[in-house]
């Protein structure tokens, strides 16, 4: 009896397990077999796994779900899939790889097309925040000796035969900046513009990050580059020496409270910071206590009954709008205030409206907002299509390169177009100066391709020997902008 009972229980258990098995959800899978791409969808399947499969393998989700629901696979069959459905509900889709059949050149070109410039690559400093502060061990290894000079010291490796300094400031040259051996280590003075600089030492041919510099970022290849900021702004706060610590905070660092430490100096606190050109608000803070810069008269409301101090780096620009004297409110808006319609309130002057602002170096796009109505700058002919059929005025502030086209004095119009404005044909209009056409732009470091459009005809820069082929066989002129 007992054995019979056991058999019955075992049978029931098997039945239960098979029911569980039948209802168990499995994950759809994708694999390659016999050179073909195979998608296998079991039944029942996990919805979450199917969603993931659809996203990862770029399948047409709505069509796939509909086909699974209706059993009609016309769409997939029409798109080259061979479909097999099984009695247990499983579906197997199979198709050839989309292989390129044609000219090898073009096949190769495809492999390069999806490449895009990576701003994080080694060698080109990338700033995701508009400020920088140095951090060293006790033995500081880079000393700012002037606005545009710094001395690098490598205290270690005194037995080395040769040490070089290589970094973004010398184009990562590997044979240029030999350091001098002194009693305190290997030393070199470099001219540096204010900003972020990446560097390493090359000790007897071997790359070494600065052992005394606490700031590092990946060199993109499992190594580290040291980071040094040549500062351009010194903040100081008088008094409060009874406190143990003080910090600088502002919109440039997202108002983080303990981000930029100040050091006690004499009767107060100070810190040196690199700030990218622009306009910023800031305060000093210590353990929840906030204070504005009492020595800075430039301030704005902090919306809490107090003030934020304001610092402007770079050359100011005065925006003027003539007329509209009947308007109640006029604002300046643009790319430098994220197109906030109430970005910068303009002040009423005798013949119109005015606002002074430091937007930082570069090409800035802007409009005026007169009683809520957007308008381009009527006093400027410089406007550009925003790609959606609207025109914005633009301002090129503190340009770093001037394009010059000699001759073509009979031309009616010369447009500069290139990678820096997505090859816009209605782009930057050049200005005639005698026998020359000129336009100055601010361009970031890197490679820029460009052409002139002379009365509608795309033309290589005749004054530039550097050019490369393009897809229509007419070539593009090349301009390299360097960080050093």
């Amino acid at each position: 009896m007992e054995a019979r009972g056991l058999r019955i229980w075992a049978g029931l258990l098997c039945l239960l397990l098979s029911v569980i098995e039948l209802n168990a959800q499995s994950d759809p899978v994708c694999y390659i077999a016999n050179g073909k791409l195979v998608v296998e969808i079991p039944s029942p399947y996990s919805q979450r796994a199917l969603d993931s499969l659809i996203a990862d393998f770029d399948l047409n989700g709505p069509e796939l779900r509909q086909a699974l629901a209706t059993g009609r696979w016309d769409y997939f069959q029409m798109n080259g899939w061979k479909v097999k459905t099984y009695r247990n509900g499983k579906v197997r889709l199979r198709r050839n790889f989309y292989s390129y059949r044609g000219d090898l050149d073009d096949w190769l070109s495809m492999l390069f097309v999806n490449n895009s410039y990576n701003p994080f690559q080694p060698g080109i400093p990338y700033m995701n925040e508009p400020y920088g502060v140095n951090r060293f061990n006790r033995r500081r290894s880079v000393w700012q000796t002037g606005d545009s000079t710094a001395v690098f010291v490598l205290h270690e490796f005194k037995e080395a035969r040769e040490v070089l300094l290589s970094g973004s400031f010398n184009g990562w040259k590997t044979a240029e900046d030999k350091m001098l051996k002194t009693d305190s280590g290997w030393v070199i003075e470099k001219k540096l513009r204010p900003g972020k600089h990446l560097y390493k030492f090359i000790v007897d041919g071997v790359w070494k990050p600065d052992p005394q510099n606490l700031l590092q970022e990946t060199d993109g290849y499992m190594g580290e580059n040291s980071i040094y900021y040549q500062t351009n702004t010194r903040f100081s706060l008088e008094g409060f020496t009874d406190r143990n610590e003080f910090y600088l905070s502002g919109d440039f660092c997202g108002w983080k409270e303990r981000e930029i430490p100040m050091t006690k100096q004499g009767n107060g606190w100070e810190c040196a910071v690199f700030l990218v050109d622009g306009t910023y608000e800031y305060k000093f803070t210590s353990a929840g206590f906030w204070v504005e810069d009492q020595r800075n008269p430039l301030k704005v409301s902090d919306q809490n009954g107090g003030y934020n101090s304001v610092i402007q780096k770079g050359e100011p620009v005065v925006f003027r709008l003539k007329g509209f004297t009947d308007a109640k409110r006029v604002y300046l808006s643009g790319s430098f205030v994220n197109w906030n319609p109430n970005g910068i309130a303009m002040q009423r002057v005798a013949d119109g409206w005015e606002a002074e602002y430091v937007p930082g170096k570069g090409t800035h796009y802007y409009k005026f907002v007169v009683d809520g109505k957007w308008m381009v700058d009527p006093a400027s002919a410089d406007s550009i299509d925003d790609g959606m059929g609207n025109r914005n005025s633009y301002l090129i502030h503190e340009p770093n390169h001037e394009f010059v086209l000699k001759g073509f004095s009979e031309a009616k119009e010369v447009i500069l177009s290139g990678t820096f404005n997505n090859w816009t044909e209605s782009g930057f209009r050049m200005k005639r100066e005698g026998n020359l056409w000129k336009l100055a732009l601010y361009l970031p470091p890197g490679k820029h391709l460009y052409k002139f459009i002379i009365d509608g005809k795309w033309t290589l820069d005749p004054g530039n020997t550097l050019w490369e082929d393009n897809e229509v066989g007419t070539g593009n002129s090349i301009l390299w902008m360097y960080d050093y």
């Binding site: 994708c30 790889f97 070109s109 999806n114 490449n115 895009s116 044979a175 071997v206």
Partner: protein, 320 residues
């Protein structure tokens, strides 16, 4: 994002020679137009730093009076110059098409006076002159050319990935290093297969022996999609990506992970690979191969020594 390599561009040339109806030697003599240049040593050996731009290894050197960064590319059979910077050089025979990024561009052969690494020189080196603008756009840095394999034919090269330098050593006729080296046995020692035009080595996936091109100019590993099921069972597919050319034509590639690859006695788990139809390349190569091992593979090593005279590649794995 898939970044591919100068190796591929070199494959263009033989194809175009054929397309242009010029006499093409079969098999190994195909690249005989580019003899192996002899190194001239100013020092007993030479160590020079390289730097990475993306995953490409850049070496600073001079070609005559022009100084700039060149990519060390074991996938290229010989020296390649970027046409942008060498336009004034004499051109021999307009038979070599380039157009890696553009169909229809024409490249040329040329000959340089001196290639100078600083301590190691080569005189009268034949080179191809092609546009390399796409590489510059990818890396954001000027690329003056590619250092190909035939420049390494009569020396031994040590690439120290960890410390970031190249070391060149003179060798005798047997390929033995003239400067004695410290006893330092490699984790993997592989024999080159095929010709000296590319670095082919053998290794296995799922017990199946495959032939790979070892390419310092390749960012990632490539695997042919038509390998046997035994191989593919060891490849986990992660994501599909299609590659669209400027003409709108599409090729398919799938990012995957290889459960385990084996070279000699060493096992490499979890290597990434891009799976795609390599037939266009295989058709251009007269020697068949199953995939390409790029920097994703090489950077698992502390260093690699290439000795083409002895047809050996030695690899030292990184400490985990």
């Amino acid at each position: 994002m898939i970044r591919v390599f100068p190796l591929l561009l070199m494959l263009l040339f033989p194809v175009r020679w054929e397309l242009n109806g010029l006499p093409v030697a079969k098999g190994k003599s195909r690249f005989s137009l580019f003899p192996e240049p002899s190194p001239i040593w100013k020092e007993a050996s030479l160590r020079i730093p390289f730097r990475f731009s993306g995953n490409l290894m850049l070496v600073e050197l001079s070609v005559d009076s022009i100084r700039g960064d060149f990519i060390l590319d074991t996938g290229a059979p010989h020296l390649v110059l970027n046409k942008t910077y060498f336009r004034s050089y004499p051109r021999f025979g307009e038979v070599l098409a380039s157009g890696v990024s553009v169909a229809g561009n024409v490249g040329n052969q040329t000959r340089i006076g001196k290639l100078d690494f600083g301590g190691l020189e080569f005189n009268a080196v034949d080179a191809d002159m092609v546009p390399l603008g796409h590489l510059e756009s990818t890396t954001g840095t000027p690329i003056y050319g590619l250092i190909g394999l035939n420049l390494l034919a009569r020396l031994e090269l040590n690439i120290d990935f960890e410390a970031g330098f190249l070391e060149f050593f003179p060798v005798n006729r047997r390929g033995d290093r003239l400067v004695p080296s410290a006893a330092d046995s490699a984790d993997v020692e592989l024999n080159m297969t095929g010709s000296n035009r590319q670095l082919f080595i053998d290794g296995s996936i799922g017990g199946k022996m495959l032939r790979y091109c070892l390419d310092t100019g390749a960012e990632t590993n490539l695997l042919h999609n038509q390998l046997s099921n035994k191989v593919m069972q060891n490849v986990q597919l992660l994501k599909r990506t299609s590659i669209t050319g400027s003409t709108g034509k599409v090729s398919e590639a799938i990012l995957g992970r290889i459960a385990s690859m084996q070279f000699g006695s060493q096992v490499y788990p979890g290597l990434p690979a891009v799976i795609l139809d390599l037939n266009p390349l295989k058709a251009a190569f007269q020697e068949g191969f199953d995939g390409v091992l790029g920097m994703d593979f090489l950077y698992r090593h502390q260093k690699m020594v290439i000795n083409l005279s002895q047809r050996k590649v030695r690899l030292w794995k990184r400490a985990d």
